[in-house]
């Protein structure tokens, strides 16, 4: 029986439990289910949960634990000289044994016997069955493979019995608990609530994981580069240190990257927020249902275009266009046709990124604005307010928390974006305030330091982790501030 059949059978038991539980509840109620605490379905679900949940848990544990146990028991049988090798190479041998075991299952009984007698034949025999193994196996491996196969078979049998027992047992236990005053709904709901909690904890686990996966490497970085040079440094110039010819350490100033991140993000928001918000307002308040139902998904396509497309769009179209137009303007004004907007610039990146971000603002805001009850609009319109006054003073304030949520999400996306910045604003880390000049962002550097030719043990690569953690903390602070603002201005309608 494979795992999926087992799961199917467990599900079937749960299903039967559901039906039996509901039945029993109905019977107890004497047909008047109102005399029971909960609806029959809840009793059914209660039984089903008690049958499926422990069984699934057991199965999960088994799936994790059994291979580990079998692995160690096979390894304990390894010949002494193999045991003397490192854990890693033992692991490799085990991998090979697994391959052989897979192959043995494909062989017929006599072929298997032949292989056991003469290990040198094994590779050819298996090759003929389409199972590739890398080299000629050693003699002990065939025995181990056979052991592995039989252990696995035994474990699977045990597992199936245990899981099915638990499923049936759980169902029976729960079934017996059914009584008129038994609060099945509450029990079922608390299981649902527990699963909601589990779902929310994934977000927390993710955070923990992100921090943990960056922290050790970041500390390695700070062991090599003083923290103050990183946090307060104004020059970003990590020298190339691969082959060591010019192996000076370089400078890891965070400030230019941070400024670039905030600046480019700001410019992007400058395009995305007004455009997205006005588009949302127009779609939800002015446009006909038809127009809205077409334009909204269309705008959403903007969020799905891969960012590399935006990047090349900026690189080949927007950047040169801005550069040329600036030189024309400059020329008309002063007679000197030199451009004041660089082809790669904060403006180019902000603009193109802004386009990508439009749907982040527009679609969600549109939903939230639409959800504002009509009575509020009527109240304002009935006082003689124009549509725009109603929107500005009544609808938008009422929709504020959602809109701020959308804007925060947009800002987050702007901070996390790489490809557009690389292609539109370049990778030069500089401190300056002219939007027509290139700058770059923290994210860009995280990606490029992680994916380059750089020696992975060097601070040049490790700095990516320090950058990641720092960015994480800075955006956290910005978000806390945003939450505070929302709380302050929230208007809860009835």
């Amino acid at each position: 029986m494979t795992t999926s059949t087992l799961l199917l059978i467990t599900a079937a038991i749960a299903m039967i439990g559901y039906l039996a539980g509901s039945r029993r509840a109905l019977a107890l109620a004497g047909g008047r289910s109102a005399s029971m605490h909960s609806r029959p379905g809840y009793y059914g679900s209660f039984v089903a949960i008690w049958s499926a949940l422990p069984a699934a848990l057991l199965l999960g544990v088994w799936l994790v634990a059994a291979p580990a146990i079998i692995n160690s028991s096979i390894r304990s049988e390894f010949p002494a000289e193999v045991k003397a090798q490192s854990q890693a190479s033992q692991g490799l041998s085990f991998g090979m044994i697994e391959g052989i075991a897979r192959g043995m299952r494909a062989l017929s009984a006599e072929e298997a016997a032949q292989a056991e007698r003469n290990p040198a034949d094994l590779r050819n025999l298996m090759g003929a069955r389409g199972v590739a193994i890398a080299g000629d196996p050693e003699a002990y491996m065939i025995k181990a493979a056979n052991d592995l196969n039989s252990l696995n078979a035994r474990s699977n049998l045990l597992r199936n019995i245990a899981v099915l027992l638990v499923a049936v047992g759980g169902a029976a236990l729960a079934y017996r608990l059914i009584a008129p005053r038994f609060r099945a709904r509450n029990r079922v709901e608390s299981v649902i609530l527990a699963s909601l909690v589990v779902a929310s904890s994934i977000a927390i686990l993710t955070t923990v994981g992100i921090i943990a996966s960056m922290l050790t490497e970041a500390t390695h970085f700070f062991a090599r580069v003083p923290a103050h040079e990183f946090f307060f440094g104004t020059v970003w110039d990590p020298r190339f240190a691969a082959a060591g010819a010019t192996a000076s350490e370089g400078q890891f100033g965070l400030i230019p990257l941070l400024l670039g991140t905030l600046y480019i993000g700001f410019v992007a928001m400058l395009f995305a927020v007004p455009i997205g918000l006005f588009a949302a307002i127009y779609m939800s308040e002015y446009a006909s249902q038809r127009v809205r139902s077409i334009t909204k998904p269309l705008l959403e396509v903007l969020a799905g275009i891969p960012t590399i497309v935006y990047g090349f769009f900026a690189l080949t179209t927007v950047g040169p266009f801005l550069r040329d137009i600036s030189s024309q303007i400059h020329g008309l004004a002063t007679g000197d046709y030199s451009n004041f907007i660089q082809a790669q610039s904060v403006l180019t990146a902000g603009f193109v990124m802004g386009i990508m971000l439009i749907p982040y603002v527009s679609s969600l805001s549109d939903d939230i604005i639409t959800a504002v009850p009509r009575a509020l609009r009527d109240g304002s319109l009935g006082l003689g307010a124009t549509r725009s006054e109603t929107i500005k003073r009544v609808v938008l304030p009422a929709a504020l928390p959602g809109i701020v949520g959308a804007i925060l999400m947009t800002a987050s996306r702007a901070i996390g974006e790489t490809m557009i910045v690389v292609l539109a604003a370049g990778v030069a880390a500089r401190i300056q305030l002219n939007p027509f000049e290139p700058m770059t962002t923290v994210t860009v550097k995280i990606v490029s330091q992680l994916t380059g030719d750089l020696e992975f043990t060097s601070p040049q690569t490790l700095v990516a982790f320090a950058l990641g953690i720092t960015l994480f903390i800075i955006t956290l602070c910005l978000n806390i501030y945003a939450l505070y603002i929302v709380r302050k201005y929230r208007e809860q309608y009835e």
Binding site: L381, G384, A385, R393, A398, Q492
Partner: protein, 271 residues
Amino acid sequence: MNMMTEAAVEKALDQRMNDLSYKMIGKDVSVYYGEKRALFDVNLNVRQNTVTALIGPSGCGKSTFLRTLNRMNDTIDNCRVTGRITLDGDDIYDPAIDVVELRARVGMVFQKPNPFPKSIYENISYGPRIHGLARSKADMDQIVEASLQRAGLWNEVKDRLQESGTGLSGGQQQRLCIARAIAVSPEVILMDEPCSALDPIATAKVEELIHELRSNYTIVIVTHSMQQAARVSQRTAMFHLGQLVEENDTDKMFTNPDDQRTQDYIMGRFG
């Protein structure tokens, strides 16, 4: 009740007013919600400086008619109005008409109180501010206080003007909405059951307000209370199943109506 004597005075006044011009004229007004027809060729005129009461069983189209008078029906997606309604002789459904101005001139108090989720102060000051009716903060404070006073809410909320309007009790919200509407001093005030959530004393206060307003404004009020209709209005219109059954002097209506259905309704014999 001392209102009855007042009503007599009103009646005399009414006689004089009768020959005054109509403030609003509705001719062959029909309203459709999608396929469903909610009003059937209603012809009803609203006299200047008069209180007109609309009565009729629930669902007969009173609110619908009221909303046609300041085009609040426009905000309902599938709602369609035919016929002609004029305000001071101008067709309000004329595309050239300015709905915003119309609604500023024809104010409305809705059946379900709908305070903005803002502070009580802002609820009231909202209208005056958008119309630019207050020249200064002091001016505005004064408007807010006066409006709340007139709606009989001032005493209850004067210490909590900065709290949210949605945190008020049902009756308080209703009075807040009345105060909000009168704060912009419209020429015509449409009130959809303004006293439904009010206790007798608050009701009396609102009725007093209506009396007071009447000399300068035109008022149309929907009410389910015959007594209230009799007390506050000079003219009464009776709706039934989307049709205007009868429109008449209030006195006549309640003593000797022309239509049998009116008679029956007032006597409580159908609904």
